[in-house]
Amino acid sequence: MSTALRKVMFKAGLTTLILIVAASPGLCQQTLRKKIDSLFMIASSAELKVRDQVEPAKDSIAALGVDAVPILVGKLGTKSARDRWTVIQILKKIGSPAVPHLVKTLKNPDALIVQRVCWALGDIGDSAAVDPLIAVTSHSKWQVREQALGALGDIGSERASEAVVSGFDDEVGQVRKAAVVSSGEIGVSVAISRLVHMLGDEFYGARLSAIDALLKMDTSEVTIIVADSLTSANSLVGDLGCTVLGRIGGDRALEILVGEAQGGDPSRRAHALLAIIEADPLDNCGYRETIVSDETDRFVLLKINSAIYSVTHAGKETQE
């Protein structure tokens, strides 16, 4: 073999080697993507015949760790609800290592992606995501605001308190609901009076979630504020306020409820009476007889009797 030929061959070999080395990350990435796509097809399948393989497939993708995150995030724009659920479940399994890439994705112009990334960050629950999530609580799309506030509640950092409380004023019920739920998760004590006001929210999701949120707060303070709000022009505030007091229980709550149980509005009386039965199921305070004997509305009476039946048959099947 001539020297010239050797030189040519050496150069050609070197060039090939350089090309292979240069292309290898791409090749690796391509291989990884193929592997994930293949596993994902099973992980996201609803078919009965692969049901046993779904969880192992998710675990296998999660085991690929942080390298899988960009590829998974790339799938978040999917129109398939099942695919979306699967991606988020896998991201949750990957956990904190996924957070840096997810946080970067919060700047994605596609609100759908951002919304789903918020969801994933909430599920992961890493406090490193708190500030970036706060930044998107004022996003123009309400779905993003809802998910961001919800995620902040899931993470449970007090740093998010102000952002969460500001969500009470959102024009969209779902966002207010997320703010209410998260305020309870975080325990935003300054929000108590706002939460009591939310008992009258026009969106039932926010209204009824406010009950649970209030029960997570300082209940003595809640009792005082609820008592002050029972005369609200919005009857829902008082009705659900009674429910809150019933769940809190105690002498002060019962005292307030007995007063409400003697009012003129049958709906309010019913709420108060049911709350009394919830707070004092065994009638240790002896209110029941007085209350029942005074009641004249047949529906309120039936509600009382039903509630008494339920507490006296608690744990038993309500079959008839």
Binding site: M41, I42, S45, A46, E47, L48, K49, V50, K79, S80, A81, L112, W142, Q143, E146, G150, G153, Q174, K177, A178, V181, F203, Y204, G205, A206, R207, L208, S209, L236, D239, L240, T243, S267, A270, H271, V292, S293, E295, R298, F299, L301, L302, K303, N305, S306, A307, Y309, S310, E317, T318, Q319, E320
Partner: protein, 645 residues
């Protein structure tokens, strides 16, 4: 008799009004009363329009009802009352209004044909003025109006886009038995193909303007029926006979061009009172009587209108292809059979099927037998599919997308006025995603869209009289799926409803499903997501106003809300029996999703009722769920029956 009338007179006000002074329908009172019990209001049952990206295909009616789902009771009542005996054109016109897109500013008209466009082409062959008038009107529509209106409807579409609608888009509805045996990779591949079809459709689907073609169909039906009824009256009174009507000019020269004679041209046939046989792809058949056989076919690549009128006889309609017998495929198709016990054997897209068009099958009398596969017996896609049967005990069979089925921008209605009928749907295409042994039905009052690509339409099954038997499987009997509305309204009779899942007042994924049964001792049976169940920002409602009824379900049923949906079961009167196997998620149950609850309401307003599972006669109850409640009260107790202290 007098006593029965008196009892009725007493009962009707009791059922119609609650609490005397409030003048509310009983069910409305029940909803207000129970929602108040749990700190809610009836208006809480309502949904936003923007949970997901909207498409441009949602119907105005569906959008309005999703905002106020409880209005569906009034809507269903209007639809039930929308038909007048002998006048199917009125229901057709009514359904045309229902096909308006959300936010659609105006409805486009049909092409207006000039009568001279026809007069120049034909010589009258028959002497009878009325009959000639029928033929002339039919010719105007078949030769000119339908095709020109179709041109208007599809004016903005390219040739390949039109072909896509005829072929690929249709695949979104068609199922294959052999698919259940495919391996996961091929199933995944098929799903991806369908997704691509949807995405391709989304690039141009908004350019489809179904209105001109549908308007043409409604106008044709109205004009034709006027003349047909006139002729039938003359025949009935003896003013004319079929023989006299069929008498032609008496002389046709040997070299006459039949294409120039109205009624004799290719694709047209006029049959006498004897037994006739028709075979082929026809545009127009008028048959005066006899037990006839129709072996008809249709080529969707060469769309045209089809009008078949059969005045009497026990006829046999035997499909030789899809798209026959009251089928509008890129056109308008009518089949009007006025008498006799008829048998309709079809394949797919038939028997009152509107696929990018309008299909009406009107059967005025007789005990009839209907059978088909896919998109049959009142099924609409970008159009109207209407099957009206005004008399007799009928049998309806179909595999999928049948018996009141509405797909995208479509309304499909099966309207049966009399007789104890049997409805069967399913049994052919397995629902392999969930079960080895259950079948897709998408039937019996089913509105269906493809999630999350294209909104569904309106599917309704209305039955006014008789003891009826509804047998089906998955997604059926008042079921809405993806921005759609499915409803069943049965007015009278002791009826039996048997479905498996997503049934009997079931809304799934931003949709609405409702089953209303006014009278009779009815039996409702099934497994789950039924009998008033709303899943994923959807509403399912079952309302039974009278009778001693029996409800049986396994789980997530009988007033169950799931994933922020709302489910309501309302039974106004009667001594009822309720059975539910699962107590954790039935009868006033709501489950949480997206950090808040759903709404489940169980309402029984009268009678002495028995409960297996949650609930109790004369009782209010709440489950450990978010959020819901049940109540069994005596709305209007007899003296001495009031609750005891």
């Amino acid at each position: 008799m007098v006593r029965a009338t008196l009892v009725l007179l007493i009962l009707i006000p009791i059922s119609a009004f609650a609490e005397g002074e409030r003048n509310l329908p009983a069910e409305r009172f029940g909803i207000e009363h129970l929602t108040e019990y749990i700190g809610m209001r009836p208006d809480d049952i309502g949904f936003r329009t923007d949970y997901a990206e909207p498409d441009s295909f949602r119907l105005e009616v569906v959008a309005d009802l999703m905002a106020r789902p409880l209005n569906v009771i009034d809507y269903a009542t209007d639809l039930k009352n929308g038909h007048i005996n002998g006048q199917p054109e009125i229901m057709a016109q009514y359904l045309f209004k229902q096909t308006a897109r959300e936010g659609q500013a105006y409805r486009d008209d049909a092409y207006r044909a000039d009568i001279s466009e026809i007069q120049a082409n034909y010589t009258l062959h028959y002497n009878d003025v009325t009959f000639s008038q029928i033929l002339t009107r039919a010719a105007v529509y078949l030769d000119v109006t339908f095709s020109r209106s179709l041109d208007k409807s599809l004016a903005l579409l390219s040739r390949s886009e039109r072909r896509f609608l005829r072929e690929e888009f249709r695949e979104l509805l068609v199922l294959r038995v052999e698919d259940e045996l495919l391996p996961i990779e091929q199933i995944d591949s098929l799903e991806k193909v369908e997704e691509r079809y949807c995405e391709q459709f989304l690039t141009f689907g908004h350019k489809v303007n179904k209105d001109p073609l549908l308007d043409a169909g409604v106008n044709c039906l109205r004009e034709l029926l006027l003349e047909i009824n006139s002729l039938r009256s003359q025949l009935k009174s003896g003013a004319v006979s079929s023989k006299s009507v069929l008498e032609g000019t008496g002389f046709l020269p040997d070299n006459a061009n039949l294409e120039a004679y109205l009624g004799l041209q290719t694709g047209w046939k006029v049959g006498g009172p004897g037994n006739d046989y028709y075979n082929g792809d026809y545009k127009f058949i008028f048959d005066f009587g006899g037990d006839d056989i129709y072996d008809l076919s249709y080529d969707p690549a060469n769309p045209h209108g089809v009008i078949i009128i059969d005045l009497s006889g026990n006829d046999s309609y035997r499909a030789q292809s899809d798209f026959v017998f009251g089928s509008g495929c890129f056109s308008v198709g009518f089949l009007m059979d006025f008498e006799g016990n008829d048998r309709y054997d079809s394949r797919s897209f038939s028997l009152g099927s509107g696929y990018f068009g309008m299909g009406v099958l009107y059967d005025a009398a007789g005990d009839d037998w209907y059978s088909g596969d896919t998109h049959v017996e009142g099924a609409g896609t970008f159009g109207i599919g209407l099957l009206i049967d005004e008399g007799g005990r009928d049998v309806y069979n179909g595999a999928v997308c049948t018996q009141g089925f509405g797909f995208t921008e479509g309304v499909g209605v099966l309207y049966d006025l009399a007789g104890s009928d049997n409805y069967f749907a399913g049994g052919k295409y397995k629902a392999t995603i969930h079960y080895d042994d259950h079948y897709n039905s998408l039937s019996q009052g089913c509105g269906y869209g493809i999630r999350p690509y294209v909104s569904g339409g309106i599917g309704a099954l209305i039955d006014l009289q008789g003891h009826d038997n509804y047998q089906s499987d998955m997604i059926t009997q008042g079921a809405g799926f993806w921005r759609a509305l499915g409803l069943v309204y049965d007015s009278c009779g002791n009826d039996q409803y048997n479905g498996f899942q997503y049934a009997q007042g079931s809304g799934t994924h931003m949709a609405l499903g409702v089953l209303i049964d006014d009278h009779g001792n009815d039996v409702y049976f099934g497994k789950g997501l039924m009998q008033g169940c709303g899943h994923d920002y959807a509403c399912g409602l079952i309302l039974d106003r009278h009778g001693d009824d029996t409800y049986t379900a396994y789980d997530l049923s009988q007033g169950a809300g799931s994933a922020n949906g709302a489910g309501l079961l309302i039974d106004n009167l009667g001594n009822d029996l309720y059975t539910a196997r699962e107590t954790k998620n039935t009868r006033g149950y709501g489950n949480p999703r997206r950090d808040f609850g759903s709404i489940g309401l169980f309402i029984d307003l009268g009678g002495t009722d028995q409960y297996h599972g949650n609930g109790k006669n004369d009782h209010y109850w709440r489950l450990d769920s978010k959020w819901g409640a049940g109540m069994d009260i005596e709305l209007n107790p007899l003296p001495g029956q009031e609750a005891k202290k």
